[in-house]
Symmetry: C2
Subunit: 266 residues, 2 copies
DNA sequence: TAGTGGTCTAGACCACTTC
DNA sequence: AAGTGGTCTAGACCACTAA
């Protein structure tokens, strides 16, 4: 038999999914359910914690427990890196992306700090430099209104960006055109990229920085950007609030029959 | 001030990360910590639940609380779809992928059930058919040894697969060469694909089916496979245990300057 | 059967939000 | 000040695992 708190949580979850409690609606207070015979305070509380972990509600002291609104997924396709957006236009990629996603045009809040750092093993591998090398780090915290949605930290080799606007720690997207435009002006036109992503539970630090609701996972993105000759000009790490983003990739089915040792059975 | 259970959880987490408790090692029993003055049973229990939710330990009744081993991430690149693997060879793609990932060669356990179903809105949209259409569903549960790692359910339009081995509900990867080989033999050679992915907390059903440890997120993958003329021949949905997989995509930076109305400022 | 974590209670008290 | 969720205790009892 399922525990008492599970039963209660399941009943409430069902009511939420049914729409009996709409987004923003308030659930019964814990003490009410205690008096209604749903169990002791600890038991009801445990049920509420479960609903929170499942992403259905958020509880706040003094305020109550309310049904969480479901934010629409922002779909991230590779079109957001279109050269036309940062090379020719006067809008940086992330703005153009926002327009393309069909949302109301609104400049993202974005904090930015640039610092000179020592390459960790992750960054060193991504950037193709020895561990402990001096590198530049440009860290952004991107918000939708007042709510943080993700962080994105770009790492550069000093010889690629020294003296450019990227190194100038002025708030904003590295001046007109963003980081790729700056690299372009410096003679490094980006040509191809690699993105790797995986999901995990956030660290306590990430929960605070991104103001994550209880139970919200994060998606960690590792992006490597190359010039045509294969030089890595940027390695970036992003931490995304999972419920806000989906990633989309289109590609041709590979066929290595001609360039590998595979036997041809035909 | 942080709650008592948070302090305890943080201390234990630090010891785990330090290696003072190695993977597989057993944490002190709850009753021990209660006697050591760390708080009441409920308090210590709450700390242990937090560690579990953070993916650091797993608790089992009768056995104790042990440090979770960190499974290496399996990296999924688009090379796993290489035509050579399913068209020419006698190994199906998922086996070849396993070999390429550097792991010991071992046939995956895989259950498979084929059924005729009514298209949900998700499947209908993915397959390009009206909601409620008859379609074929081929559901697999893939395990690594005895531990499930992900589900993958492929949906097909009846006219593409009727009479092929795909519809034959024999366990195993749809016969020699897998589903893409069957489609190829039927005159539908796959050409390009689209993958969309996002992370979320699992449903109770998924927790049970995939035997997910507490706090483990899942990654949901939507894969659409096309022939050269743009016909969708397969739409697949996968649910992956998050800590076991990373996805990698390489692509060229798009440049729509020539085929859009973008002004040329040069 | 012994030993482990999990559930549950009844009640006290704390921390935060809102008025 | 009133009202909300969060923490904590002490102890009883349950459910599962392993020898």
């Amino acid at each position: 038999m399922a525990p008492k708190w599970r039963d209660l949580a399941d009943r409430l979850a069902e009511q939420i999914r049914n729409g009996e409690y709409e987004p923003g609606a308030q659930l019964p207070q814990i003490r009410e359910l205690v008096e209604a015979g749903e169990g002791s305070k600890a038991t009801v509380h445990q049920a509420y914690k479960a609903l929170e972990a499942e992403g259905l509600v958020t509880s706040t002291r003094g305020h109550g427990t309310v049904v969480r609104p479901r934010t629409p997924l922002k779909r991230l396709g590779i079109a957001r890196y279109d050269k036309a957006k940062w090379r020719d236009g006067d809008e940086v990629a992330f703005i153009a992306d926002r327009v393309a996603s069909g949302r109301a045009y609104k400049r993202n809040e974005q904090t930015q700090t640039v610092s000179r750092e020592i390459a960790s093993s992750l960054v060193a591998e991504g950037l193709g430099v020895p561990v402990g090398s001096d590198i530049y780090a440009r860290a952004r915290l991107v918000k939708e209104g007042t709510q943080p949605t993700h962080t994105l930290t770009s790492y550069y080799r000093p010889e690629h960006v020294e003296g450019t606007r990227i190194v100038d720690p002025t708030p904003g997207p590295a001046g007109r055109g963003g980081g790729y435009r700056v690299l372009y002006d410096a003679g490094y036109e980006i040509d191809h990229m690699k993105e790797a992503l995986f999901a995990r539970v956030p660290t306590a630090e990430e929960v605070q920085l991104l103001q994550l609701p209880a139970g919200e996972p994060v998606v960690e993105l590792h992006r490597t950007t190359y010039t045509a000759d294969g030089t890595v000009v940027e390695f970036a790490v992003g931490i995304h609030s999972a419920s806000r983003f989906a990633w989309e990739y289109e590609f041709r089915v590979p066929d290595s029959a001609n360039d590998t040792g595979a036997e041809d059975s035909a």
